[in-house]
C-alpha cells in the first residue's frame, strides 16, 4: 500500500512536470492563435488586442500557467480557440475512445502473447521454434503504418469490416445490442493493427522469461513428481516467470498508446490522435496541451495498473510491504 501511495505521488509529480514542460513548450511557439487573425486587414489591431486581453494571452508566463492550472481545477483545461469551447469537454469522448482502443488492444495482445510465448518456449521440435522465430522477426520489421494501411486495404477490398470510423451512419437508430456490435465491428481492424505491431516484442519476452524458468530446478522437480506437462507449465512455471512480464506490461501500455496515435488517424478512429493532428494544423495550442496531458494520464494509469498487478502477482513484494 505504501508503495502504491509512493508511486501515485511520483505520478502526480511527473504529471506536474509534464504540464510545466508542455506549457513552456507551447509558449515557445512563435505567434499564437490570434497571430493569423492579425494578418487579416478587416480585423482591426484593437480588436485583436482586445481578444488577446480577454483570454489573458498578454499576461506574463507564470501568470498564464497559474490561470491554466486554475482552469484545470475548474475542469476546463484552458480554452480551445479553434473550437470556441473549453478544452476539457472536447477531450473526454476522445479519451474514452482511445482508452477503448488501447485497452482492447492491450488485453488482446497479452491474451495472444502469453500462449504463443509459452508454446514457443516449451516446444520440443526445432521446427516450431524456427518458424515462430521467423514469423515474429518478419512481423517486427513491418512498420505500424504499413500494417494499418494493409488492414485498411483489406477492409476496402473485402468489405468484411468497415473501413474506418467508430460507428456507422444511422448509429443512433440502432438498438443497444446492435450498437454494441457496430462498435465492435469498427474496433476490430484498428485493434488488430495495434496488436500485430506489439505482438512480436511481447511474445519474445514471454518466451525468454519462460525459457529460463523452465530450466529451473523446481520445474524439473515438478515434472519428476509426475505432474502433467501442461500443469507444470501453466501452474508452476508461468507464475514464477510473471514478474519481469508484469514490468513489461507498463512498457507495452506506453508503446501502444504511442502507436495508437497513428493508427487512429489512418483508420479514422475518433480518439485523441485525429484531434491532435487537427489541433496542430489549426495552431490551437491549448488543445494540443490538453491532448498531450490526456495521453500522459493514460500512460501513467497504465503504469499504476502494472504496479497493482505486480503487487498481486509477486508474493515476495507483498511480503516486503508487511
Amino acid at each position: 500500500m505504501a508503495r502504491l501511495a509512493r508511486r501515485a505521488l511520483h505520478g502526480l509529480f511527473v504529471l506536474f512536470g509534464v504540464s510545466v514542460l508542455s506549457f513552456v513548450l507551447v509558449e515557445l511557439a512563435p505567434g499564437d492563435f490570434y497571430a493569423e487573425m492579425r494578418l487579416d486587414p478587416r480585423i482591426s489591431e484593437a480588436t485583436v488586442r482586445a481578444l488577446r486581453a480577454r483570454h489573458g494571452l498578454d499576461r506574463p508566463l507564470p501568470e498564464r500557467y497559474l490561470r491554466w492550472v486554475a482552469s484545470l481545477a475548474r475542469g476546463e483545461l484552458g480554452y480551445s480557440f479553434a473550437y470556441g469551447t473549453p478544452v476539457a469537454p472536447l477531450l473526454w469522448p476522445r479519451l474514452r475512445n482511445t482508452l477503448l482502443l488501447t485497452g482492447t488492444a492491450t488485453a488482446a495482445a497479452w491474451a495472444l502473447a502469453i500462449p504463443i510465448g509459452v508454446w514457443w518456449a516449451s516446444a520440443r521440435g526445432p521446427a516450431v521454434r524456427r518458424s515462430l522465430s521467423v514469423l515474429m522477426a518478419t512481423l517486427l520489421a513491418i512498420p505500424d503504418i504499413l500494417l494499418a494501411l494493409a488492414l485498411l486495404l483489406l477492409a476496402v477490398r473485402t468489405g468484411w469490416f468497415p473501413a474506418g470510423g467508430m460507428t456507422s451512419v444511422g448509429y443512433e437508430q440502432l438498438s443497444r445490442a446492435a450498437r454494441f456490435r457496430d462498435v465492435v465491428s469498427h474496433l476490430v481492424l484498428p485493434a488488430s493493427a495495434l496488436v500485430l505491431c506489439v505482438l512480436p516484442a511481447l511474445t519474445r519476452h514471454v518466451r525468454a522469461s519462460m525459457a529460463s524458468t523452465l530450466e529451473a530446478p523446481f520445474v524439473q522437480a515438478a515434472r519428476g513428481h509426475g505432474i502433467p506437462e501442461w500443469r507444470v507449465v501453466f501452474g508452476h512455471a508461468l507464475p514464477a516467470a510473471a514478474n519481469p512480464l508484469v514490468s513489461l506490461f507498463g512498457l507495452s501500455v506506453a508503446t501502444l498508446t504511442s502507436m495508437s496515435l497513428l493508427v487512429e488517424i489512418v483508420m479514422s478512429w475518433p480518439g485523441l490522435g485525429p484531434l491532435l493532428l487537427e489541433a496542430i494544423l489549426a495552431r490551437d495550442f491549448h488543445l494540443v496541451l490538453g491532448l498531450v496531458l490526456a495521453s500522459t494520464v493514460l500512460l501513467l494509469a497504465g503504469n499504476v495498473l502494472a504496479d497493482v498487478l505486480l503487487l498481486a502477482a509477486d508474493p515476495r513484494i507483498r511480503a516486503e510491504e508487511t
Binding site: 505520478g11 511557439a29 503504418i145 504499413l146 494501411l149 477490398r157 504511442s258 497513428l262 501513467l300
Partner: protein
Amino acid sequence: MKLPRKLALAASALAGVHFAALAAGFLAPYGPTEQSRAWPYAPPTRLHFFDEEGHVHLRPFVYPLADDETRAGGYREDRSQRFPIRFLVRSPATLGGPGEGWRLFGVDEPARVFLLGTDGFGRDQLSRLLHGARISLFAGLLATGISLGLGWVLGTVAGFYGRWTDTLLMRAADVFLALPWLYLLFAVRAVLPLHLSADQAFLMLVLVIGLVDWARPARLVRGLVLSARERNYVLAARGFGASDLYLVRRHIAPQTFGVLLTQAALLVPQYILAEVTLSFLGLGVAEPVPSWGNMLAALQRYHVLSSYWWMWAPGLALVPVFLSYSALSEALHSRVGPASP
C-alpha cells in the same frame, strides 16, 4: 557460423541501400519532381526480352504507353514501336529534374521507363523512391546521432557527479519518459511553424526526433557510469590526482561505447519511422520534395490504396531496411550484452 553471415548480409544490404540513396541522381532515370502529366498512375513499365515475332533481344526494351479506350484512366502497351533501354545516358535539363547529367539508364522519347509506375502527377516512383531514401534513411541516422550524443553526455554527467545533478537529471528523464513518445514528438512539432522549406523541414525533423528521445540512452549510460565510477582502478587513478575529464575519457567512457552501438541499431529504424510518420501526416517534409512518408500519404485515398499497388513501394521498402537493422542489433546484442533496461 550463422551469426557473422547474417550480420554480413544485413550490413551489406544497409550499405547498398544507403549508397543507392546517395547516388540517387545517377541511378534514377528521372528527376524526383519531374512530371509526365500525360501518364498519371501508370503501372510499372514491363521490360521485354522477346518481341512480337518471338525474337530474342539481349538488350531489354519497352513499349510506349497508350491510353486504353476500354477502361477510364487505364493504359495499354503500344506494340507498334520498340524502345531499347539505353545505359549511361546523358539527360538534358528537364523541368523539375536535377539538371543535366549522366544517368544509369533511360529510354528515348516518347517512351518512358517507369519501373515502379507513376503517381497522380505522373512522377516516376522509382526515382522518387531513391531520392526519398535520402531523406528518410539519413534523417533516421542523424537523429540517432543526436539522441545518443545528448543522452550520452547527460547520462555521463548524471552518473559521474551523482547526488543533486543525478537526481535532477533523472527526474527530468522521468518527465520525458512519462509522455508517450509519438505524442511528445507531435507536441514539439506543433509549436514549430507549419510551413517549412524542404531543407528546414529535414533539419527540423532531425533535431526534434533526436532531442526529444534523450532520456532512455541517458538512463542506460548513467547506470554504466555509476558502476564504472566505483571501480577500484578509477579510485586509484583519482588517488594519483587524475582530473574528472581524464577519468571519464580514459576509464569510464570506453565502457559505454558498446551499449551505445547496440542502442543505435535499435533507434535508427524507430527514427526512420518517426520521419515517415510525420511526413505522412503532412508535418514533415512537404511536397514536392519526396520522402517515403509523404509518398505514402497518397495511399490515404481509397482508390489509390486498392487499385495502384505500386504506390505501396515506399512502405514495402521499409521492411528490408528494418529487417537488416534488426539483424544488426541482434548481432551486436550477442557480442556486447543487454541493451534495454
